[in-house]
């Protein structure tokens, strides 16, 4: 053992303490830096010095400066981030959809109630043109309200589309940044120097944001480079960034040619904007609004055609109340002249208002069922013509259409020696009319079982109830989405808190290590002084005995 060994080990202690204080001060300085991971100096004893009495320690050695980070906690947070991103986007957009509907104070329901009242009022004064005009105005207000809601939904969709495009642009930008960080990490690793912890923090912040933005997950190479992937596709592989391209149908195209299923916020926008009414949120609401408008139009027009207007027009000659070229946004009022409102029942006098009362009654009583599409006959139904001199007609074969039925009936009629008949739709019940003029015999068709089955006959719902279910279905969806987003937010908060508790700087802890390093530094300095004094004894005092 020499005096010099002690000096060297004291020096190593001084250096270690200094480094310790440096790292502690860096931790304290970054206590509030977003995404900062606390660092720690790892020290170990240096190689011992062997003497005849055994190995003697030579001081302390700094092995590395460690980032205190747990990848498992990161993964937990990233998984939740992906779900949360998608749910919060949908909850937010759905909430805005509900506001566009404006129920219950500024929505369609209010105007619909006013329309029924206006029709009732018309039934009281069918001869008064001003009352007729106000019914037309009520109709116009309702149509305009429906159009406004429909246009609002379209505008919301356009806004969400824009947000999707901006969101993807941001994601692509972050993908590029992550590739750049990888590049920096690679070049520093190549020099053999350790990768700066702060660069790794920058990398992890980007991965965090990408997990929320698009649901991507990362794995890490030994070099420290991140590999970012999303359902099997590499978004960042080493220093290469694979930007995603938004296609016309809002799917994402990977440079390799595959379609990437996104997660995170991007997925929220995609699901909201999905154009399939069965799966897409916005398309579903738009569709149910269109369905409501169609139902309203069909029932009102049918009731109008059942009446007689002031010009004496009835049936098809009456002006239709509403028409719609495409969706609800094209709903327009056809009737403009007050005289064209068919307030009277054709069987009644000129000043009758009972058809207007029937219009108003649509508020609570459904219109008769009607046949839409191709009426359907199940296999081997027996159809009996009850009021006519015909024997029964048997229709065989599965899924016969109305035309098959008529063909079969006509075949039987030919046997019975009667002229052919045609079928038409009489408010849902199939009515068969003889084409032979003058006789006007009407046949009713009865059948065993579901002759003109569910595919063909549609019970007419009450218009009010249709609209109400549009509103409440949307409300239920909003409430459910908010609950889901809230639950996911809770999970996310827990995961984030667990990670923060692990990664973040504790000032108390840092103060303690600062003090520890300070004391070690002081002690090591004392060692240097002690050795120095001992050496001084050797150098100045030795061999001067008796002087």
């Amino acid at each position: 053992m020499t005096q010099f060994t002690a000096l060297t080990s004291a020096l190593s202690a001084l250096r270690a303490s200094q480094t310790g204080m440096d790292v502690t001060s860096h931790n304290i300085a970054n206590a509030n830096t977003a995404g900062y991971t606390r660092q720690r100096v790892n020290i170990t004893t240096s190689t011992p010095y062997y003497t005849s009495v055994g190995a003697i320690g030579t001081g302390v050695k700094i092995t590395d400066i460690e980032r205190i980070r747990d990848t498992f906690l990161d993964m937990r947070l990233h998984a939740s981030n992906s779900n949360l991103g998608s749910l919060e986007v949908k909850a937010d957009l759905l909430g805005r959809t509900e506001q566009v509907m404006g129920e219950p104070d500024f929505g369609v329901t209010k105007e619909l109630n006013e329309l029924w009242a206006a029709f009732d009022e018309l039934s009281l004064r069918p001869d008064d043109n001003s009352v007729r005009l106000s019914a037309i105005t009520a109709l116009g207000t309702l149509a305009s309200r429906i159009r406004t809601v429909s246009d609002g939904l379209t505008a919301l969709g356009e806004d969400a589309q824009l947000q999707l495009e901006n969101g993807l642009e941001k994601v692509n930008d972050q993908i590029q940044q992550l590739a750049d960080v990888n590049d920096e990490i690679a070049s520093i690793s190549a020099t053999g120097a350790g990768v700066p912890n702060d660069l790794l923090d920058r990398r992890d912040i980007l991965v965090d944001e990408l997990s929320r933005g698009i649901g991507a997950t990362a794995t890490y190479a030994d070099s420290g480079m991140a590999r970012l992937s999303l359902n099997g596709f590499d978004l960042v592989s080493e220093t290469r960034a694979n930007a995603l391209v938004l296609q016309g149908d809002n799917t994402l195209l990977h440079p390799s040619g595959g379609v990437v299923n996104a997660g995170g916020r991007i997925r929220g926008f995609q699901e909201f904007l999905d154009t399939d009414p069965d799966t897409g949120v916005l398309a579903g609401v738009q569709q149910s609004l269109d369905d409501f408008a169609t139902e309203l139009l069909t029932q009102l027009n049918a009731q109008q055609a059942a009446g007689r207007d002031l010009d004496g027009d009835t049936g098809a000659a009456t002006t239709t109340l509403l028409s719609m070229a495409g969706g609800a946004s094209s709903l327009t009022v056809d009737v403009t002249r007050p005289e064209d409102l068919a307030a009277a029942d054709p069987a009644m006098g000129a000043l009758d208002g009972s058809n207007a009362a029937s219009l108003a009654l649509l508020r609570s009583v459904p219109a008769p069922p009607r046949v839409t599409g191709d009426p359907y006959v199940a296999a081997a139904q027996t159809i009996t013509i009850t009021s006519g001199a015909l024997s029964s007609v048997v229709v065989t074969g599965a899924a016969d259409t109305l035309n098959d039925v008529i063909t079969a009936i006509n075949a039987q009629l030919a046997v019975d020696g009667i002229t052919t008949i045609v079928a038409d739709d009489n408010g849902g019940a199939l009515r068969l009319r003889e084409t032979r003029s003058g006789t006007g015999i009407e046949f009713t068709v009865s059948s065993t079982g579901d002759a003109f089955g569910t595919e063909g006959t549609h019970a007419s719902p009450v218009v009010d109830a249709v609209l109400r279910s549009v509103v409440t279905d949307l409300g239920a969806e909003v409430a459910s989405m908010r609950r889901q987003a809230g639950a996911e937010q809770g999970i996310n908060n827990t995961a984030a808190a667990a990670r923060r508790d692990h990664n973040a700087v504790s000032l108390d802890e840092e103060m303690v290590s600062l003090m520890t390093f300070q004391r070690t530094f002081e002690a090591a300095a004392r060692v240097v002084t002690a050795v120095d004094e001992a050496m001084q004894t050797i150098v100045s005092r030795l061999g001067i005995v008796g002087r």
């Binding site: 129920e103 029924w116 009281l124 000032l507 108390d508």
Partner: protein, 294 residues
């Protein structure tokens, strides 16, 4: 042991504050708007009920208007037919008196009064309500066309008012039923005949018309009875409608409006909770080892 850090504490503190503030905001919004359900997602079944109740209330208001309108029809008809009844009593009196009057001048006077009664009744029969013939059914009228004879100009259709979801009431009587236009039953023709017979001195024929007059009076009474029944029906329906409106509005308020006392309590509770959170945080976040090191 779980590691607790300053950053973690700040974050969770902010989260808690945010939650508290959001509850406070919700409580404040409910109180200031007075509405427990503002959008469907607040309470889906509540909204369904609100929309249903509002539609029903609006319909009920309209039914009350329909009923009031119907009542106007009935009241006017009633008043008018009462005057007809009075005039017919007078005509009957005159006819009876004619039986004992032989003086040509007096008979002429009776005849012209009978004619004037006929014209009075004619003008009543052609009464208009809001520009529309009251006794002409659903036709444009006039109810009675006076030409060579007297014929009914209207139709036999009912004028109906919907005073409830399932409640239709007929609010008119038509001149054909009240005054009769078949042979021998035509009140106007009868009165004309009476005047003619008076002038020609055919007392027997004049007295013979008394039966016709009685039948006319019965028809009129039947009309008045129908009007009375309909009036009672509407009166009862209006009372029921008023009751229903009160019930429905109470129901609506129960679903839609907040319980003011509860909402104020809720707001204060949230306020206290928020302040408590603030206070606790200011104490928890302040001390650190730094304060105790020299």
């Amino acid at each position: 042991m779980v590691r607790v850090t300053q950053e973690g504490m700040v974050h969770s503190a902010l989260l808690r504050l945010q939650e508290r503030l959001s509850s406070l905001d919700t409580a404040g919004k409910r109180l200031s708007s007075g509405k427990a359900v503002q959008v469907a997602s607040d309470d889906v079944s509540g909204m369904n009920r609100i929309l249903g109740l509002r539609a029903r209330i609006r319909a009920g208001e309209q039914e009350a208007r329909n009923a009031a309108d119907g009542l106007t029809w009935l009241n006017v008809a009633d008043t008018k037919l009462q005057t007809v009844s009075d005039r017919m009593h007078r005509a009957r009196e005159l006819i009876v008196r004619a039986g004992s009057t032989n003086d040509a001048t007096a008979r002429e006077a009776l005849a012209s009064e009978i004619e004037s009664i006929r014209d009075d009744i004619l003008s009543v029969a052609n009464t208009k309500i809001d520009g529309r013939a009251l006794f002409a059914g659903t036709s444009a009228g006039p109810a009675v066309v006076a030409g060579a004879g007297y014929t009914y100009g209207g139709d036999l259709n009912d004028v109906q008012r919907r005073i409830g979801a399932e409640d239709l009431v007929t609010v008119n009587v038509n001149a054909s039923d009240v005054f009769g236009f078949t042979d021998g039953e035509n009140l106007f023709a009868t009165l004309t005949d009476v005047a003619t017979d008076l002038r020609s001195g055919n007392t027997q024929a004049v007295l013979g018309k008394l039966d016709d007059m009685d039948r006319a009076q019965q028809r009129l009474s039947a009309g008045l009875a129908a009007i009375g029944a309909a009036t009672n029906h509407i009166d009862a329906a209006m009372v029921r409608n008023d009751d229903e409106q009160i019930t429905l509005k109470g129901e609506l308020s129960k679903v839609e409006d907040i319980d003011m006392a509860a909402a104020i309590m809720e707001l204060q509770t949230q306020e206290v909770a928020y302040q408590a959170t603030l206070g606790a945080l200011s104490r928890v976040l302040q001390p650190s080892l730094v304060d105790f090191l020299r």
